[in-house]
């Protein structure tokens, strides 16, 4: 009973403090909103309507028919250039990002039984874009070739394959839908880890921790009392983030709210405890904030798999991603947003987070101070 009352007092006090301190409000509300906004509007990797220059050095009907086959596509936007050099200049100045050249011996080589050669030039400055455009243009040329072969009857067998690509859960391949979950993970990490670490570290600096400890507050009460308010704040941010992303960015939400809350809670458990742990170790706001950014914010940004591909990282860094809960949380969110409640998958990911959580909670309670 005594414990419950003391716990209640600490929670109530933390709560008042957050809402009365402008810088805490800044971290709790303004920063998350900015991040969500920037992620939603500013961070899109969609490759559509890439400006592509086409140079027809051979103006025969055959070359024209290839040119026409390129026209109607969501990936590229064709611009016609008369000269190869002109197109190359435009490419250097980033006016266009790819060039297709149909050389002057195109018809001649085809008539000699060759497949025919087109030249594709891409802008390697943006590897993502270059790779997608290159594959698209090569596939387009091959598709055109197989059609031509069938019409002329040159091929012994038609070899025409119709590839029906079905992008599950995200037919239009809108990258924003995959990135938003990443930004929610980042927001929760900011509130859970950064804000908690800062606010608790400040108590050391201001001498209030000394007074609270002397008022016979125990380890457990101290830990839980600090945990509950920031956990709840994080949960509120998770709900707010979901609401905002639905409202502003029109992301789908095919799973259940329960699944969303469950996975967010477990993620926040780790993040908040991490924040308390950091502040118990470094009792200085500036050090605490640096550690919180390095161990909370950055891993959630880089190693979560929401933006950058974990599979493309070196083995050692891939191993590191397993330590941070963000990796599992992003899988959960992407699934809940786009695929729905795939419980088996979700529960496995949540299970991994729980294991990490257990370790962090033990460490934090051990390190929660009873003395200065």
């Amino acid at each position: 009973m005594k414990t419950v009352e003391r716990l209640g007092a600490i929670v109530w006090k933390e709560w008042l403090q957050v809402f009365r301190d402008p810088s805490a409000l800044m971290i709790a509300f303004v920063l998350p909103a900015i991040l969500l906004f920037i992620f939603g509007f500013g961070l899109s990797l969609d490759v559509t309507d890439v400006k592509t220059g086409v140079v027809l050095e051979d103006a025969s009907p055959l070359a024209r028919s290839f040119y026409n086959s390129l026209d109607a596509s969501k990936y590229i936007e064709v611009k016609f250039y008369a000269e190869r050099t002109e197109a190359e200049l435009a490419m250097r100045d980033e006016i266009i990002r790819a060039v297709v050249v149909v050389p002057n011996d195109f018809t001649k080589r085809i008539s000699q039984g060759e497949i025919g050669v087109v030249q594709i030039l891409t802008d390697g400055g943006d590897t993502n874009l270059a790779f997608i455009v290159e594959n698209y243009l090569r596939a387009a040329f091959m598709k055109w070739t197989s059609l031509r072969l069938r019409e002329t009857g040159e091929g012994g067998l038609a070899g025409k394959i119709d590839l029906e690509t079905k992008t599950m859960y995200n037919p239009a391949q809108i990258t924003r839908h995959s990135l938003i979950p990443g930004s929610i993970a980042m927001i929760l990490a900011i509130i859970g880890t950064l804000l908690t670490a800062l606010v608790v570290a400040r108590e050391w600096e201001r001498g209030t921790m000394e007074a609270t400890l002397a008022a016979s507050v125990g380890k457990f009460e101290m830990f839980v009392g600090k945990f509950i308010p920031y956990f709840l704040l994080g949960l509120a941010a998770a709900i707010g983030g979901l609401f905002l992303s639905k409202l502003l960015f029109d992301v789908p939400f095919r799973g259940s709210f329960a699944a969303y809350l469950l996975s967010s809670s477990v993620f926040l458990l780790v993040a908040t405890t991490q924040g308390i742990f950091i502040s118990s170790i470094c009792r200085d706001q500036s050090v605490a904030s640096q550690v919180a950014v390095l161990s909370g914010f950055l891993p959630n940004f880089i190693l979560s798999g929401a933006i950058f591909e974990i599979d493309a990282m070196p083995k050692i860094i891939q191993l590191v991603t397993y330590i941070f809960p963000a990796r599992y949380y992003v899988v959960c969110l992407q699934t809940i947003f786009m695929a729905g409640d795939v419980w088996l998958l979700l529960l496995t990911q949540i299970g991994y987070m729980c294991v990490i959580g257990a370790v962090v909670v033990c460490a934090a309670i051990l390190k929660t101070p009873k003395r200065l």
């Binding site: 250097r92 390697g124 040329f141 067998l157 038609a158 493309a312 990282m313």
Partner: protein
């Protein structure tokens, strides 16, 4: 005037001595930057590799096996798993056991061999990772179409196809993601170090109490800001040059443009970033507030610079906002200098907005600094 210059020189020296005087402050200029460089350069990639591909082959003909074989040999795929049914394949994607799957129907071989029919293949990919699904989709389409033409050609001529599109990738022939990110990374590091050496410089003095002592000396606010700014630009430039050297010699990414031009843009850029940092610092009373200010400035500035995602993809109004973002211009200039070997005119086109932003933010910093003294 002479007295003024002398005072600025003293202020400058003081800042530099403090920054280089203790191992702790010295390390701040080097260690975080190197960590950032290494971490980002290895971790930041949008490439699709090590893909686990699922396959359902309902066709018993030779054609389908050779078709599927053409996938298994590609380095993009780490592993090919076989499933009995289409449902199993979908289930595996749902559980994220595999990222994508190919379903070959039972009439594939028959249709391939027929003159009039079109063989059908279905490609399933997990759209939860949207960008990766787009990349892989394009890649699989290319392999499929190439395979089709190759098969037809070989069948007709009895020998494998030799010609096809010739691809040249400018600026980055092997499409190494790291190379295309590296110039942006230098810019990112320049930004953080520039903010770091400036954002705390006034608020730290305020907290330590040294600030009042400084203000009662004859040094005027403009002299104090000048001393701090020159010192911060000087220190940050040193740190950035070190990182650039690591990039050029360690990561073997050659500088295509001129070194002088790079130095000039970096210094101009740092002048604007440092002014912004000083502005944050003069607005805050504690170091914590400065840190927070820096933290609110850096992520949006980086995101709206074209570092992680192209500016072209932004909505029109947001695109317009990037014009005043100095990071954007520096990003463009660095990419031009390192990757493209862009013409001097194009770099100067970036330098002009940078200089304008620098001038405006410096004036703003001085204004705010003076206002805080009222």
């Amino acid at each position: 005037m002479l007295g003024s210059i002398r005072r600025v020189w003293r202020l400058f020296l003081k800042e530099v001595i403090i920054a280089l005087g203790t191992p702790k402050t010295r390390n701040i200029l080097i260690v975080p930057q190197i960590i950032e460089l290494v971490m980002f350069s290895f971790a930041v990639s949008l490439d699709v590799t090590n893909v686990r591909l699922g396959v359902v082959n309902l066709d018993s003909g030779v054609e389908s096996s050779t078709f599927l074989l053409s996938f298994g040999t590609k380095p993009v795929f780490k592993e090919v798993r076989y499933y009995q049914s289409y449902e199993e394949l979908k289930e595996a994607i749902e559980q994220r056991e595999i990222f994508a799957g190919l379903a070959v129907p039972n009439d594939f071989s028959a249709r391939m061999l027929s003159k009039d029919e079109t063989a059908k293949v279905q490609f399933l990919v997990d759209g939860r990772r949207a960008n990766a699904s787009a990349i892989l989709g394009g890649y699989v389409a290319q392999i499929t179409q190439t395979y089709g033409v190759q098969a037809a050609f070989q069948n007709a001529n009895g020998e494998p196809m030799t010609s096809g599109p010739v691809v040249r990738r400018w600026f980055n022939p092997n499409l190494i993601a790291r190379n295309s990110f590296m110039p942006g990374l230098i810019c990112l590091i320049t930004t953080t170090v520039g903010i770091m050496v400036s954002a705390l410089s006034i608020s730290r003095e305020r907290e330590m109490g040294t600030f009042e002592q400084l203000l009662v000396t004859p040094a005027s606010p403009i002299e104090i800001v000048a001393g701090k700014m020159i010192a911060a630009v000087f220190l940050a430039t040193g740190s950035v040059l070190l990182i650039t050297a690591i990039v050029i010699f360690g990561f073997k990414l050659p500088l295509q443009g001129s070194f002088g031009l790079m130095l000039l843009t970096t210094i101009t850029y740092l002048a604007s970033i440092v002014s912004i940092g000083l502005m944050i610092s003069s607005l805050s009373t504690t170091q914590q507030q400065s840190t927070l200010g820096a933290f609110i400035f850096i992520p949006p500035a980086i995101m709206l610079s074209g570092f992680a995602a192209p500016i072209e993809n932004m909505p029109y109004w947001l695109k317009a906002c990037t014009v005043v973002n100095p990071v954007r211009w520096e990003m463009e200039a660095m990419r031009g200098l390192f990757l493209r070997g862009t013409s001097t005119e194009a770099i100067i086109a970036c330098l002009i907005p940078l200089a304008i932003v620098a001038a405006v933010s410096l004036l703003a910093a001085i204004y705010m600094f003076k206002r805080r003294m009222e």
